[in-house]
Symmetry: C2
Subunit: 427 residues, 2 copies
């Protein structure tokens, strides 16, 4: 880690810069795949699955047999772990339901707001070495609680044409209505335009590599919503002498193992803590299976010493971390005043991996500073709010004159007339 | 209007197609302006204001004097109308505040969700013939209620270098912190990169022409959030024999006057009502000041007869109208079952223009079918939710094993280790 002592404010932007790559150079291939799939549907899907995943599938819809096979392949103890996680995620996301908001703003003018589920959602689960079944829980559970009608899941097949059993098990457990073996750009294009087998959806959720990220961004141009823009995962820990250095090191490493471009930052008001954490990182790093990845991420990462909590907070709000761990003598100060963060982990016994799997909070969170404007995935991500209004004769008589005046002042005659024609009848 | 009787379902997509233009051809100019402003800041802003708005401004920040002048120029009766609208909008949006959601998902595992304001927001208000001060109310009021710190407003200057007094009056009344005379692509680029005078913001709100729309979309590539994608305004009315044909006609026309590309649709289970409404449109149209615009929009518009309410509802949900007026004997059926709509207006005395100005609901709504996945602007549009979690020793002992199992199954060693290292100490 690079240690920085008391950086002047003018250097913060540069110090906090994220190791994000530019995406311009892969837009070409994404555009090409989109155009092909829009035109040729499943035939093109099959072609790209062959090309990118190295497998030729006659049928890419996961069958009941495949699901049953997966159920048998997942160990009982993992099933129990998934069950516990599911229960906590369900509790926390169910509690996020909101009642109808009803207000009679003026006598006879009733306004209300109701949330309705997004009818068709598409979840994307990456393939690769780590089968992210936990992300299935994080997306499918709130989708089901929200009441989404179609919950589709796409994930790339491996060389044997299969999806990891834990992903299938979790998808089946959490109410996914259709599972399709398709990955990458082609999956996102399928969700965007619909094909013979992939349903067109209204909103796409889930992580992915740079190709998937750019594809999701392109899908918004075609009228599909996405959960949020994506970037490499990141963690910021603020720790003072009350923290446990080996715990802090373990948390920083758990983030670092995600990818060489992950970013971890330690902010501390204690130079001793920084030194201790750096020592602990060296000790723990050597024992990790993903040591090479974690090492690269750690090399890009920073320990920043600041004089006091106020400066630490200001710097953290400027960064807007995806994950934010607080282990200080002054935790409430950070909790009360944090403006920009995805999810906050408080105290020595709240590792970030708790939120990744089983505490109940969602792990799909805004990276890359997007916590300044975006929420992490939550129940509302799967709904939209609709407003309603009902005005009585008395109501329109009360507010009609104001509407007429404002419409006239905006030069919108017909808007005014829609009120005038009613007021005339009510005279 | 084009009347369509009992269209078969296979034709719905084509019948409901919106008159949206492609935006590809203006991306070039938008990219160019963005690059210039990123590099040259205010100097470039000034250049484009000269080029696009035809005025050279030495200082584009609206002064206290200009605001005082504007306050004097707005008539007392318009001020009163704005005040009434402000009160209703304030009531409805204040009621949308949500309490902290707190759940102890497992003994010793506390999770909660809190909304925090987006610190810096940029509002865009178009210039042109109609001074949209009502949109100032719809954006600045919820921003202020949410607690946004910086609420900036950009609007293009007219040839005299001024912004319409009603816009300045409304902005000052509703807590806008800085008003800048800059419009179009250059305003959005300014919000995206920041210049010497325009602050970089985290989220951009507000309507605009196609250039502004494309610029907003491009800003998302640079990490700025936007309220929603935009398209031409639209209204769908469902009416049966219980409706008043002249009221329905007045509502359709109030939408049609927005622009030649506005779309209005009448769906009815009564052929007589369709005939009457079309007659009424002809009568009322002739008297409008914006007759040419409204006429063009009406030419593109459709009256659709369907056999029953169920078919009507299905068709309406497929369309997902921005504004949806319900005037039938069966209103509750539509209210209960509408899945996709921006804002719903119920009964004979609830003209759409009520929601545009003064009922209290927001008028910044999803067009172009985006109501399938997007909410209209509401209080939450100016906040993001942050999740928090705090786990006790007992808590991590209860859920720790599950986290270890899941992390191991995903091949994420360091995630597992962050829990193991704590559990070991607690044995």
């Amino acid at each position: 880690m690079n240690t920085i002592i008391n950086p002047p404010k003018k250097d913060w932007t540069q110090i906090l810069e994220r190791p994000t790559k530019t995406v311009d150079d892969i837009e070409g291939v994404v555009n090409e795949v989109f155009a092909d799939i829009q035109k040729n549907g499943d035939a093109a899907i099959q072609k790209y699955t062959q090309k990118f995943d190295g497998v030729s599938l006659e049928n890419n819809i996961v069958s009941v047999n495949e699901i049953n096979e997966a159920i048998n392949l997942v160990s009982e103890e993992l099933k129990e772990a998934i069950q516990l996680a599911k229960e906590n995620i369900t509790k926390f996301h169910t509690a996020q339901k909101t009642a109808k908001v009803f207000v009679e703003t003026t006598n006879g003018v009733s306004c209300w707001q109701e949330k309705r589920p997004i009818q068709k959602v598409g979840l994307y689960i990456p393939g690769g070495t780590a089968p992210l079944f936990s992300t299935v829980l994080m997306l499918a559970i709130p989708a089901q609680i929200a009441g989404c009608k179609e919950i589709v899941l796409c994930s790339p097949p491996n060389k044997e044409g299969k999806i990891h059993p834990a992903i299938l098990y979790a998808a089946n457990l959490c109410g996914v209505t259709k599972i399709i073996k398709v990955g990458g750009i082609q999956a996102i294009a399928g969700y965007t335009f619909g094909t013979e087998t992939i349903p067109q959806v209204y909103k796409i959720f889930g992580p992915g590599n740079q190709f998937v990220t750019v594809a999701k961004q392109l899908s918004t141009k075609h009228g599909v919503a996405i959960d949020m823009p994506a970037g490499p995962s990141e963690l910021l820990v603020v720790a003072d002498d009350s923290a446990n250095a080996s715990y802090v090191a373990s948390d920083l490493l758990s983030q670092a193992e995600h990818g060489a471009d992950s970013q971890v930052i330690l902010v501390s008001t204690s130079k001793e803590m920084i030194t201790e954490v750096e020592k602990e990182i060296e000790i723990q790093l050597a024992k990790l299976s993903r040591v090479e990845i974690a090492q690269k991420a750690i090399q890009n990462s920073k320990s920043i010493f600041v004089e006091n909590d106020e400066t630490a907070l200001e710097l953290i709000n400027e960064y807007g971390p995806e994950h934010f761990i607080v282990c200080t003598n002054n935790n409430d100060f950070y909790i009360d005043n944090i403006e920009n963060a995805g999810s906050v982990f408080i105290g020595n016994y709240t590792p970030e991996s708790a939120g990744d799997y089983a505490s109940g909070t969602n792990h799909t969170l805004p990276t890359n500073g997007f916590s300044k404007s975006y929420s992490g995935v939550n129940l509302d991500s799967f709904t939209k709010s609709i407003t309603f209004q009902k005005i009585t004769k008395a109501g329109i008589k009360t507010i009609g004159k104001s509407i007429e005046l404002m419409a006239a002042a905006e030069g919108l005659d017909a808007h005014k007339n829609a009120v005038s024609i009613r007021l005339k009848d009510l005279k």
